[in-house]
């Protein structure tokens, strides 16, 4: 498989997986108690959510694609490109979850992407 395809899977499958997981967790509602037993209860409810499983499958695919990429290319090449996930994530959060991505948040996201690129190029 080509590098571009693998990278596409890492970014798009990874992000849509996380968006689905977010959807599952928002359905469960805000967690208020952090006792181990309460957390286990939340995890149990999450595992009964369709969105959760819809999210875990692409996340696993993205994880294995990332391992493949890392075994072929340098980390300093792979990581800056995967930083695109932050942009794709903000777009998907806006369109699929209805989150409000204000100008300030957008600038923050873009700075994070730029910073990750610099950290790995440096």
């Amino acid at each position: 498989m080509g590098v571009a395809l693998l990278l596409g899977i890492v970014v798009f499958a990874g992000t849509s997986g996380e968006i689905s997981v977010t959807r599952a967790m928002k359905e469960i509602g805000e967690v208020h108690h952090f006792h181990p037993r309460a957390i286990l209860g939340v995890l149990g409810r999450a595992m009964r959510s369709g969105w959760m499983w819809l999210g875990l499958a692409p996340l696993a695919g993205a994880f294995f694609s990332l391992l493949t990429l890392l075994s072929r290319e340098n980390v300093s090449f792979v990581v800056p490109l995967t930083a695109l996930s932050y942009v794709v994530g903000a777009l998907m959060a806006k369109f699929f979850l209805g989150e409000e991505v204000s100008h300030v948040r957008w600038i923050g996201v873009l700075l994070v992407v730029l910073g990750v690129v610099l950290v790995w190029v440096g």
Binding site: E18, I19, V21, T22, M25, K26, E27, I28, G29, E30, V31, F34, I39, V42, L43, A46, F64, L67, T68, S71, S85, Y86, G89, A90, M92, A93, K94, L97, G98, E99, E100, V101, S102, V104, R105, I107, G108, V109, L110, L111, V112, V113, L114, G115, V116, V117, L118, V119, W120, V121, G122
Partner: protein, 138 residues
């Protein structure tokens, strides 16, 4: 403490835990996999073989457990906070890891990388100025 403040505080605590367990999980897993002879995705058999060797290494188990704790924290914080808030905010782990590798491991860090750390911190600071949640609880 006001409700909004309490939500913000627990968001920050969860993100800090994500950074702690995510970064140590990555380091332990990477170290363990290299120790156990690397990982190759050339064929299903080689993936299976890599996993089998990996599971005989304590460091791999420790790394995986750490990543599971990371993922649970991630799930919990997403039950109340925006994805577009948590995801960029957790990028501060790059800054933490760079700082630790310089401070604790004595690695030399090039200027460009410090510049990257500064830009990430600025980006995370801006994101943290926005509301943690912009959707309604249903």
């Amino acid at each position: 403490m006001s409700l909004a403040r309490r939500v913000r505080l627990k968001t920050y605590v969860m993100i800090a835990l994500m950074i702690l367990f995510g970064a140590s999980g990555d380091v332990l897993l990477g170290k363990g996999m290299r120790e156990s002879g690397g990982f190759s995705i050339a064929s299903p058999a080689s993936i299976f073989d890599g996993l089998r060797r990996g599971f005989q290494n304590d460091m791999v188990w420790l790394g995986m457990s750490s990543l599971i704790v990371f993922f649970i924290c991630y799930m919990l914080v997403l039950s109340w906070a925006d994805y577009s808030f948590v995801s960029p905010a957790s990028a501060s782990s790059y800054a933490v890891v760079t700082f630790l590798s310089w401070f604790a491991l004595g690695e030399s860090v090039p200027y460009v990388r410090w510049a990257g750390v500064a830009v990430i911190c600025l980006g995370v600071f801006l994101v943290s100025r926005t509301p943690t949640r912009t959707t309604q609880e249903n």
